[in-house]
């Protein structure tokens, strides 16, 4: 197990390095530069370039950036004056993370429960209901779900605040909008997996032991059926966290989404790089945790190094 973890961490670090390099090159390939405002005089522009180190050779800029990155320093934003990227991230990321985690917890717990309920009621009306919900969830994009939720729950019935992120009540609608797709896909995977496991020979063995149906479902069926869900958890975390950008703008949440879009429009090199790399590290880390968790759920993975 220890060897497995070390290997996973190594691969993760390598992934981050490749990510940093590719993003660095791509950003510089974009036409224009951060100081292409027509009102800016050439002297000012030169000064700014020198101030941010943009006059140095590209390779040197790259190594400087890497060096700073090692210390966890993303540099200064080129648009928000006197603001470090770290500072801006510190302000905005907690909102995105909070929303992401809420959506994830909500969608996973409900998704698993719905999947299990669906499988246990295979073919009847309850199952059909969840099929319909799943079709809606997979085919309707989250910003429409968000808008519909706002219309009914905030505008028409006034149950929840329509926007902003100030308290528990504010978090509910955006979490549902963000987690809806994941919830339906998790419930579908869980349903299919439950139905597959129930036909396995070991379920028959369990039945031959005279233990309760509850125990059979809980100890033998769910534990094995959950495996495919754990497998898709890594990509799911990624999709939920990137989904926050859209939801944030619909619900006016001061998360990373706003800065991200703005920085790309403004060609704010250090912001784009900083946010992408930060996000990348976060996702790679999430995937790594999932992979290691997989080993804990399935003893067969643990041994295979």
């Amino acid at each position: 197990m220890g060897k497995y973890v070390v290997k996973r961490v190594g691969i993760s670090l390598l992934t981050v390095l490749v990510l940093v390099t590719v993003v660095f090159i791509l950003v510089r390939l974009m036409p224009g530069d951060p100081f292409s405002d027509p009102k800016m005089t050439p002297t000012v522009k030169e000064n700014l370039n020198a101030y941010y180190g943009l006059d140095k050779p590209l390779l040197q800029q790259y190594t400087t950036f890497l060096g700073n990155l090692m210390r966890g320093d993303f540099g200064y934003s080129m648009k928000y004056q006197n603001q470090t990227v770290n500072n801006l991230l510190r302000q905005s990321f907690p909102y995105s993370l909070d929303l992401g985690i809420r959506a994830l917890v909500l969608s996973l717990s409900l998704g698993l429960v719905f999947g299990i309920v669906s499988a246990r009621n295979r073919g009847n009306k309850i199952d059909l209901f969840f099929v319909v919900v799943a079709v809606i969830g997979t085919s309707v994009p989250d910003f429409i779900v968000g808008a519909i939720l706002q219309y009914f729950f905030a505008v028409k019935w006034g149950l929840f605040p329509i926007a902003q992120y100030k308290g528990l009540a504010h978090t509910i609608l955006p979490s549902i909008a963000l987690g809806f797709y994941t919830m339906t896909s998790v419930s579908r995977i869980m349903r299919a997996s439950m139905l597959e496991v129930v036909q396995q020979d070991y379920i028959k063995t369990a039945r031959s032991k005279g233990i309760s149906n509850f125990r059979i479902t809980w100890k033998h069926q769910i534990r094995n059926a959950i495996m495919p869900v754990v497998t898709v958890l890594g990509p799911t975390v990624a999709s939920v966290l990137t989904g926050t950008f859209v939801i944030e703008s619909i619900f006016a949440i001061p998360g990373m989404g706003k800065y991200y879009v703005e920085s790309v429009q403004n060609l704010d090199y250090s912001m784009i790089l900083g946010q992408t790399v930060f996000y990348g590290i976060f996702l790679v880390f999430a995937n790594m945790v999932v992979d290691i968790a997989y080993g804990f759920v399935d003893p067969r993975i643990r041994i295979a190094k």
Binding site: Y202, A206, K209, G210, R215, H220, D298, P299
Partner: protein, 356 residues
Amino acid sequence: MPEIILEVKNLEFSFRTYGGVVKAVRDISFDVRKGELLGIVGESGCGKSVSVQCILRLNPEPPGFFEGGEILYKGKDIVKMSNRELRKIRGVEIGFIFQDPMTSLNPTMRVGKQIEEIFVGRKEVSRAEAKQKALEILELVGINEPERRYRQYPHELSGGMKQRVMIAIALVGQPGIIIADEPTTSLDVTIEAQILDILKELQEKFMTSIILITHDLGVVAKMCDRVLVMYGGKIVEEGPVNAIFYETAHPYTSGLIQSIATLDTSRDEELVPIEGTPPDLFSPPVGCPFAARCEYAMEICGMMMPDRTQVTPEHYSACWLLHEYAPDVELPAVVRTTEAEEITPSPEQVETEERV
């Protein structure tokens, strides 16, 4: 005659499928006696597994359902039992050993837990006692280092080891009846012999009744006291093992015996396979299921199912050839008479082997 502990009467079990109703078990009756080793033979798809799984109600219901009959155990009908009543029987009164040890153990649960799970929810046995019993039974089925194995997962064990664990699961509740559904089919021959020895030993030690399903007539000859021969969802012949081999009364049984090869079968000797395939159980034949493949078939065979006819006091066969008006046919029962002893050891041989 030893006491009868389980009685199956006119059992009929079918499955609803998209293609229609499959009549897997069609009106079978048999009994299980205390301490005996009852063999059930027949080719794939003849209803062996389904009929024994009926005894513990392990067939999925639905799609499976009982069309009729009863299974009497201790004066109660298993067919009519509630889930609660069934749970009291499963594992502790009737144990089951499955065919494929590779897939019959839960991959995410430690071996020891899977064995002692039998006692979960049964007040008589405490946790510590359950663990103690699990360790003892592991030792009994020939697993060394039981303490270590107890903590391992199924994928850490070999195939033979897993089957021993399966046997341990079936035995740990000390059931009076053990149903072994082809327990050695997926194992190699040396392990097969060891597993069968364990079963035989346990049967003699605890006076357990064992129902052994197998394809292997050699195993039947060596192990069983009585044999049921099944075909097309019906029992076509039943009787003491010697009667089945030496006074074969059903053409199907005789066909089965003739189609085995042994080390002693010479190269030029042709095996006699049974031509054709088993009947379609979606629409089973009205008459004898074997009629279409039977070289002795008469007109009546395709029209009516023959009655269960007594050959000798313990030996029954369902064949029209046994009818008083039927022509006298000599079945090649005692296969190629001289070689017969080599193919299936005679009782004397069995005894000597056991003494060794």
